[in-house]
């Protein structure tokens, strides 16, 4: 590889990095994918359906009030590739979910990509990576 080529590649890489924030992921428009948060609570329902599985859970806030959250996940096929089964999450499970919350402030979130995950009380983790 000649020097001119190396220099060009380094320059391109540098410019791409410098420009990254302006051209970052646009994503599911309803969700704030710039800020991933975690919520912890008790599973009330797990829906294994196509094309989107869903997790419903109760989360107790600092003020003691319980808020019911709805979490969008991926298709059963994609979840199976990430070692899930239809029994991976059950009502009563204590879980912590990493998600992008709805921008409008309702307790709904998206967890279905490489940033999303479920951590169980015993420490085991389920991911939702697309590939």
């Amino acid at each position: 590889m000649n020097r001119k080529l190396t220099t060009s590649i380094v320059l391109v890489a540098g410019l791409l990095l410098a420009c990254w924030p302006a051209s970052a992921h646009h994503g599911n428009a309803a969700y704030d994918e710039e800020h991933w948060i975690t919520i912890a609570g008790t599973v009330t329902e797990f829906v294994w359906s196509n094309p989107h599985c869903q997790i419903y859970m109760d989360v107790k806030g600092d003020d003691g009030k319980v808020v019911s959250w709805s979490v969008e996940s991926q298709s059963p096929g994609i979840l199976r590739r990430n070692s899930w089964t239809r029994d991976s999450i059950k009502p009563g499970d204590q879980i912590t979910v990493t998600l992008a919350a709805a921008k409008n402030g309702v307790p709904v979130g998206f967890s279905g990509n490489k940033n999303g995950k479920i951590v169980f009380a015993d420490g085991h983790v389920l991911k939702m990576d697309l590939r």
Partner: protein
């Protein structure tokens, strides 16, 4: 000039200089620039695409071409474009009217850019693409027949294929309806759309994919996308992924519609 445009211009200027430095870059090297592992993969088998493949996209689903690379639209297409409300891209907004939200088929070529794999299956007369998305088969006829002259419109079109050389499979297709978008960012096409694809298997694990969409009813020039990468997934199986309207409808009501509602005051 906006920051993004300025950056884009600078990147492309330097990238052009880099490209010129590659005076004799081979096609396989182009594949390596697109993310093929440095460790040499085994050579590609001859005239064989069998296996499960995954398009290496951005993770959130994709489109036939980046918005910045789309050619100018005709007035016919502009009317449809203005009615689209996609969930992704520069026009992305909560809610929207993406046809797949009501379980319309993704259709072709959009299905090529979804974040789930497809399998190539070869028979003596057809190369079949079996897409996980919708669990849908796309037959590509290889028995020498021509494209039908005036095919009826379908979601996935009518396709014929031939081997250009031992590692390059070329597919021509036509006979599409005009109900599908070209990707998650929207963009219409007409029922006069014709598509040419090249599947160039540069090594055992990698296809370099080119696609050209020609649709004079909708666009003033062809849409040209080159050097996209597909990777072989040797231990993968195609899972079932239908869009089930009763399940999708429940999902929309319980999750997507609340998430897309106007902010609570």
């Amino acid at each position: 000039m906006r920051r993004r445009q300025r950056c884009s211009a600078m990147v492309w200027t330097v990238a052009l200089a880099a490209a010129l430095a590659f005076s004799t870059a081979a096609r396989a090297q182009a594949g390596q620039q697109q993310g093929v592992p440095k460790a040499a993969a085994a050579p590609a088998p001859k005239r064989d695409l069998s296996g499960v493949w995954q398009y290496q996209g951005t993770g959130g689903g994709g489109s036939t071409a980046e918005e910045k690379d789309m050619p100018p639209m005709t007035p016919w297409a502009q009317v449809r474009f203005d009615q689209e409300k996609p969930g992704y891209g520069t026009r992305g907004a909560p809610g929207g009217n993406d046809p797949i939200l009501q379980c319309d088929p993704a259709g072709f070529p959009r299905v090529m850019f979804v974040p789930t794999p497809f399998e190539f299956v070869q028979t003596p007369t057809r190369v079949l693409q079996f897409f996980e998305r919708e669990h849908e088969w796309r037959p590509i006829w290889t028995d020498g027949r021509p494209l039908p002259k005036d095919p009826d419109p379908t979601w996935y079109g009518y396709a014929i294929g031939r081997w250009e050389d031992d590692n390059t499979f070329v597919v021509e297709s036509a006979g599409f309806n005009d109900k599908t978008w070209l990707g998650v960012t929207g963009y219409p096409h007409s029922d006069q759309m014709r598509v040419t694809e090249r599947y160039h298997r540069v090594d055992h694990d990698t296809i370099v994919y080119d696609i050209t969409v020609t649709d004079p009813v909708a666009y003033t020039k062809p849409i040209v996308t080159r050097n996209k990468i597909m990777k072989l997934k040797p231990n993968e199986e195609i899972e079932e992924l239908p869009c089930v309207w009763s399940e999708e409808n429940s999902f929309l009501k319980r999750i997507r519609e609340p998430a897309a509602a106007k902010p609570v005051k």
